[in-house]
């Protein structure tokens, strides 16, 4: 028998898509039954009360969680987010219901053995409710009490050799796409560099010293499956500089209908026979492809590596061999001054351990932002406020035409005095000798 009636939530149990309500209910029942005799360290009723408080929100159209609360583990300034219910007497099981962010493994690969250890810990010391995963990428433990936080961290770090993720004004948990592990489009090993930088910058991740949050995301190719270009302060996007590799026989196989286009992604509708002109050549954004007899030709110099032709014909076209990544900086969601897309800062850099060239850029950006950024100002907002030139100067990167979509359409150039012959100090009396008042 459920502790709280949930007639509104119950309506979300029907329909085909996996119901989180059914899942919460099975967890509530499992805790009530406690078949494994777990010595629950937070309320056994936590999930019952979570369902109850959520039902109340469904009635009110408002949430019932209080604002923040400073909780954490000793020596860290992030990784734990305080959460208190604003109806603690009605729902004592979730009166204190803090979140813990656990740094996910690269590519979000797991073994059952490891996941079970996380589950054992979270059943014992938390609510048994998680997010797999949070938006930034962390494993999210949803709901525990203050006295359990150090205990959980101790067991995570000692028994599972696992650290927390980031929150607050620090480096947020970096995340990556599946990359070379299972994708032929990967231009660099996203997981290797993501792991390396995560380890290198543990201090920045755990101890808030920045003006605001800072995100790294690693996309192996311009398809951008982890959306780095839209949401990370530094977006690392794989790219290449040489020719797309062409298997002309496979091109003919696509033309002949032997291989379905786009990896069979359009199998649910009859789009007619594959037409390489219509579906590839004419959709190329730079018109750098053509057929010469039976051969597909690409003018590499004009290619902007949008991935469309490769996506359509993955068995015929492959990314080049001179691979690296582009760094785009300053992306963020709308709050406050509107959304910003990442802007190209480093057109190309090779991705080679120990990634010194990349780290130099990162650290120059941080120095600049920590010096100039206001409280709660994202890098992108600082760039908007001070201009892209300031970032170039701070990182020592030379301006190139690739940095802009188009050059400025106003001539209001902030010339530096040293750029103008003779400087700015002039004698007005000397001037007046030739120009009467």
């Amino acid at each position: 028998m459920a502790k709280h009636a949930t007639p509104l939530l119950d309506q979300l149990e029907s329909g085909p898509w996996p119901s989180f309500v059914s899942d919460l209910k099975q967890e509530a029942a499992a805790r009530a039954k406690n078949e494994n005799n777990i010595e629950y360290q937070i309320s056994q009723d936590a999930v019952e009360d979570l369902l109850g408080v959520l039902e109340l929100s469904y009635n009110h159209g408002r949430c019932h969680w209080k604002h923040g609360g400073i909780v954490g583990v000793f020596g860290y300034g992030g990784g734990v987010i305080g959460r208190y219910c604003d109806q603690p007497e009605m729902f004592p099981g979730v009166a204190h219901f803090h979140t813990m962010r656990v740094n996910q493994p690269g590519g979000k690969f797991y073994t059952a053995e490891y996941l079970r250890k996380l589950c054992d810990l979270w059943d014992f010391r938390g609510s048994g409710i998680t997010n797999m995963h949070g938006s930034t990428g962390d494993i999210i433990f949803l709901g525990t009490t203050t006295p359990q936080i150090e205990e959980i961290f101790w067991e995570l770090s000692h028994d599972l050799e696992q650290d927390l993720g980031g929150s607050g004004s620090n480096l947020r948990t970096p995340s990556d796409c599946i990359g070379a592990a299972r994708c032929e489009y990967a231009c660099y090993d996203t997981q290797a560099i993501c792991y390396d930088l995560t380890q290198e910058y543990q201090d920045e991740l755990h101890r808030p010293a920045f003006p605001y949050k800072f995100k790294f995301k690693f996309d192996g190719c311009p398809n951008c499956c982890v959306a780095s270009i839209a949401r990370s302060d530094i977006s690392f996007i794989g790219t290449w500089r040489d020719d797309i590799k062409i298997d002309q026989e496979a091109v003919q196989a696509y033309i002949g209908g032997e291989i379905p286009p786009n990896g069979n992604a359009h199998s649910g509708r009859d789009w007619g026979a594959f037409d390489i002109d219509k579906e590839v050549i004419n959709l190329c954004p730079t018109n750098c492809m053509w057929m010469e007899g039976k051969d597909l030709k690409i003018d590499t110099k004009e290619c902007t590596r949008c991935m469309h032709c490769i996506n359509v014909m993955p068995r015929a076209l492959r990314i080049g061999d001179d691979r690296g990544l582009s760094m785009l900086v300053g992306a963020k969601a709308p709050i406050l001054d509107g959304a910003q897309m990442g802007s190209l800062l480093v057109p190309f850099v090779k991705v080679e351990e120990p990634y010194d060239e990349i780290k130099e850029v990162i650290e120059a950006i941080w120095d600049y932002w920590m010096e100039e950024g206001k409280n709660r100002e994202r890098l992108g907002e600082l760039m908007k406020r001070q201009g892209f030139q300031k970032l170039l100067a701070a990182t020592g990167i030379d301006p190139v035409a690739q940095h802009v979509q188009e050059p400025r359409s106003n001539p209001y150039i902030f010339w530096n005095e040293e750029e103008v012959e003779g400087g700015w100090d002039r004698d007005v009396n000397e001037f007046r000798k030739h120009h009467l008042r």
Binding site: F20, G68, A181
Partner: protein
């Protein structure tokens, strides 16, 4: 129950402390076929919705079965995922960026038993636990935020509208009949803990009432200068107020300058915005993050407001369904929602989707607004 110590000593927090160790290293968890063929993959194909094969230059193949699920997940459910992974995949699995679960096997004969097992598992309430799909030119899982289940600033729930929307779009999760992939995302307030601002269709929680002022507590709970500085439109100023005959330091809000972002509430808990009628959903459309063919784009606001209709948000799901159907009928192969809208013109987008155009949809927020007005004689009647 009695407190059980982990070994942590409150009096000596630094004793035997382990910190700054980072995450588990990724390659500890690679299935053998992944470890062996990393960086050697030649191509992939989607055998049917939800089922991929990747072929390596070594001749090895890995078959991936992708299934959807709620990102709000219990340990009971995770243990079931583990059981499936052990039964079919030697204990290996992964999650995708969009909250799907992927089970990988190294030979084709293991695929069908895995799919049958996944599709046979249902919750007591009747929904699928592990529906297979989410690939190719269809709808994949919705990325979303916490909503009412755990956040303090939401203007709508997350898990509920996601469940309701995916029920409506379920056929497109299971099929490849759209012109291109269609990514739906939800953020329960404009802090946007996900990248919903670049999605084919974005569901965004939004407040419409300025903050209430809890004068009696405001100066005790908040740093007033921080609350004032938090406002992007400078709508907040310091004020002295009389409460029960006592003069207190507080703030005043110029309501007509408020665009309801909630940033003041983030800095000051005595300025809550949430409201049953005021809160609801904005629908945005036409964004993308891929660089394929055209540059990444922001989603545009196409419906200014829909009410929170718990538990199933019918106005929201009906609007999304209409957009998906109009897109599916009108777009060319490979064309994303935003590319389709730009080709036919946004005026035509509103016709095709049968959505009313209202003054709310014309940008009036700062400089970028100007660039969105029509500055050509070219338009469609």
């Amino acid at each position: 129950m009695a407190f059980v110590s982990s070994g942590y000593n409150t009096d000596k927090p630094m004793e035997n402390r382990i910190s700054d160790i980072g995450p588990k290293k990724y390659d500890l968890f690679y299935p053998p076929v992944i470890a062996k063929n990393k960086g050697k993959w030649l191509y992939h194909e989607i055998l049917k919705p939800g089922v991929l094969v990747h072929v390596s230059e070594t001749g090895d193949e890995v078959f991936t079965v992708r299934c959807g699920g709620a990102r709000l997940m219990s340990t009971t459910h995770i243990r079931e995922i583990c059981e499936i992974a052990e039964k079919h995949c030697d204990g290996h699995l992964r999650f995708t960026t969009r909250n799907n679960i992927e089970f990988m096997v190294d030979s084709k004969d293991k695929v069908e038993p895995l799919i049958q097992d996944l599709e046979s598992r249902k919750f007591d309430g009747g929904s699928f636990k592990f529906p297979v799909g989410g690939t190719g030119a269809g709808v994949t899982n919705i990325v979303h935020t916490q909503g009412w289940v755990h956040c303090h600033t939401p203007a709508t729930d997350a898990s509920g509208p996601v469940k309701a929307t995916m029920d409506v779009l379920f056929d497109d999760f299971k099929d490849h009949k759209l012109p291109a992939q269609l990514r739906v995302s939800l953020a329960c307030c404009l802090n946007m803990c996900g990248a919903v601002h670049c999605s084919d269709i974005a569901i965004l929680g939004y407040h419409r009432k300025p903050p209430m002022l809890d004068h009696e507590y405001l100066d005790k709970m908040c740093e007033i200068p921080l609350a004032i500085a938090a406002c992007p439109t400078a709508a907040i100023k310091p004020a002295k107020v009389e409460v029960n005959g006592e003069t207190l330091k507080s703030v005043a809000v110029k309501n007509e300058r408020c665009m309801f972002c909630g940033n003041c509430y983030t800095m000051c808990p005595s300025m809550p915005l949430a409201d049953t009628e005021g809160d609801g959903i904005v629908i945005m459309a036409g964004g993308k993050v891929s660089n394929r063919i055209s540059a990444p784009k922001f989603s545009k606001v196409v419906v200014a407001f829909l009410p929170n209709e718990a538990p199933r948000w019918p106005s929201t799901t009906a609007t999304i369904k209409k957009i998906v159907e109009a897109y599916s009928a009108g777009a060319n192969k490979y064309e994303r929602v935003g590319e389709w809208a730009e080709r036919i013109g946004w005026e035509r987008f509103f016709d095709k989707c049968e959505l009313p155009f209202t003054h709310h949809l014309i940008d009036d927020f700062r400089d970028p607004a100007y660039y969105t007005w029509r500055q050509t004689s070219q338009f469609k009647f």
